[in-house]
């Protein structure tokens, strides 16, 4: 196999071209205002600056507030998803329950529901309950789709926990709950991390629920704040790209540090039923 290294070079090239939009975002975000309109365009920023990050991304109170809101919503969604999806995934994987296939089908099908179909009625329902313009409402809305995904994603991890170990734990006096907490959870740690990362990133990038359920600017997630500022930024593409890069930061960080978890989660949820 002497021809393998050229393949790698070609692969790197394809990947780079494919991810060119991401590169162009970072490239633009480090440019001076005048340089973004240079012809021919600077393929690397010739006089790089962090001004856009200092002024727009972190210096703008509206954006800082949006980032903080998104953090609260995403962390809340993650905690709620873990609390509800983890036991359910375990129950559907390792307990002898009736209707397992019915429940699984429910959680699988529910993921196909368009967010708009939930956002509209949720606005009416949450208005009644005083949940519009509240973190709680946004967290509930985000968890509505994260929990079914989490269950489908996590179940295979619990399926791979050998039943014999769980039976043995019970013989030694563990309750069902004890076996779950002391045996199944530690073994499935990669799955739990995957679930946490995926539900955090999902809520972090979510747009429709934030748009529909948070008219109050003090509660809007960064995605909605950014969409609202887009016109105000006009042609300040360097500032817009800097804010975009900050919004993308958790995703990029997760890719760098938790790559194997993310990739496993992204593909497992979709391909295994």
């Amino acid at each position: 196999m002497r021809r393998r290294w050229p393949m790698t070079v070609a692969g790197v090239l394809i990947t780079f071209v494919y991810l060119l939009p991401v590169y162009w975002m970072l490239n633009t975000s480090f440019k001076k205002p005048a340089d973004i309109f240079a012809t021919p365009p600077q393929l690397v920023p010739l006089s790089p600056t962090l001004r856009s990050y200092a002024d727009a991304a972190f210096g703008n109170p509206a954006i800082a507030k949006g980032l903080a809101n998104s953090a609260v919503i995403a962390i809340g969604t993650t905690l709620l998803t873990i609390a509800i999806a983890v036991p359910a995934a375990y129950g559907l994987a390792r307990l002898r329950l009736r209707f397992v296939s019915v429940f699984l089908m429910l959680f699988l099908v529910v993921q196909m529901v368009p967010a708009v179909n939930l956002a509209l009625p949720m606005f009416a329902i949450f208005s009644d309950l005083g949940l519009v313009n509240s973190y709680a409402g946004l967290i509930l809305a985000n968890a509505s789709l994260a929990i079914p995904l989490g269950i489908v994603l996590l179940r295979p991890y619990f399926l791979s926990v050998p039943t014999e170990i769980l039976e043995a734990a019970k013989v030694d006096g563990c309750t069902t709950f004890g076996a779950f907490v002391r045996i199944a959870l530690p073994i499935s740690r990669p799955g739990l991390i995957t679930l946490a990362v995926i539900s955090f990133l999902g809520a972090w990038g979510e747009f429709v629920f934030g748009l529909a359920l948070a008219a109050d600017e003090d509660l809007q997630p960064i995605t909605v704040v950014l969409a609202g500022l887009t016109n105000a930024f006009g042609t300040r593409w360097n500032d817009l790209m800097a804010v975009s890069a900050v919004v993308a930061l958790p995703v990029i960080a997760a890719f760098v540090f938790l790559q194997r978890y993310i990739v496993a989660g992204l593909t497992e949820g979709a391909t295994k039923s």
Binding site: W24, I84, R96, P114, N117, G173, W237, A270
Partner: protein
Amino acid sequence: MAITVPQQRVATGRAAARRTTTAEYLFVVPAVLFVGFTVLYPLGYNVVQSFQDVGIAQIVNGNAKFVGLDNYADQFGRPEFWKSFGISLLYTGGTVLATFVAGLALALFFHRDFPGRNVLRALLLLAWVLPTVVSANVWRWLLDGTYGLLNTVLGTEIFWLGKPGTAMVAVMLASAWSFAPFAMVLLLAGLQGISGTLYEAARIDGAGAWAQFRRITLPLLRPVSLTTVLLCFISTFKTFDTVFLMTQGGPGGATEVLPVYAYKLAFSFYKFDVAAVATTMLLVVPVVLSVFYFRSLRKEETA
């Protein structure tokens, strides 16, 4: 918290199983209730609203009146609704086609064995996970009429998002860019399922690369391809954010897909009742497709 059952050790077989089973449902009940409240109830609520007269007053005060099929008659009689429906189908069709072709090309390339391929495959998924607000903004910048990179590369000065035809192509391109790595992953799984001996046999019989692709890869990839196309169709048909963020449905309604149309009815015009008709229709198409899909699967299995 912990349900201690000390007698469990003494209790024999079936009795123990029965006692634990009741408690064991507590693992699943919260999830079912939660999904019931946050997904099934809103979906039902939405369908009910589509038969009622609901404006902002009814949202605030409740007591909406039932009006039978009036909302449906209203929407089905409107050219805007059918235009939006057609735009949705066009946008979805174009995006799914582009997604599938790009996803298949990537899958065929990254199916080969070479150093670093797993890392590169994973990196590509970045396009899929990037928050839509981010990718939509980046695409708006790349497609900028005067200084956008695409125009520079092509040597043109096209306001891509300013004209109906090119705006549609642009939102398809941006959506396909996000979905293609996902399609790649599904198709890679399919390619891995095709036995290498088939290709060896074909080579011995003198089949070239193209013949192998047409006679072996494509037919054997059919089931996975169908699943990929269906999943891409479902996610594209419901896409709101990419279109809303790139064009807001414009110019002149040229990219106003059904989710954007429904959202505007509800939140720009406070017509929650007819918006509910539009979102209900948004469910009908994927459900019908899925039924056909499962039927064809069953037919293939029994045949």
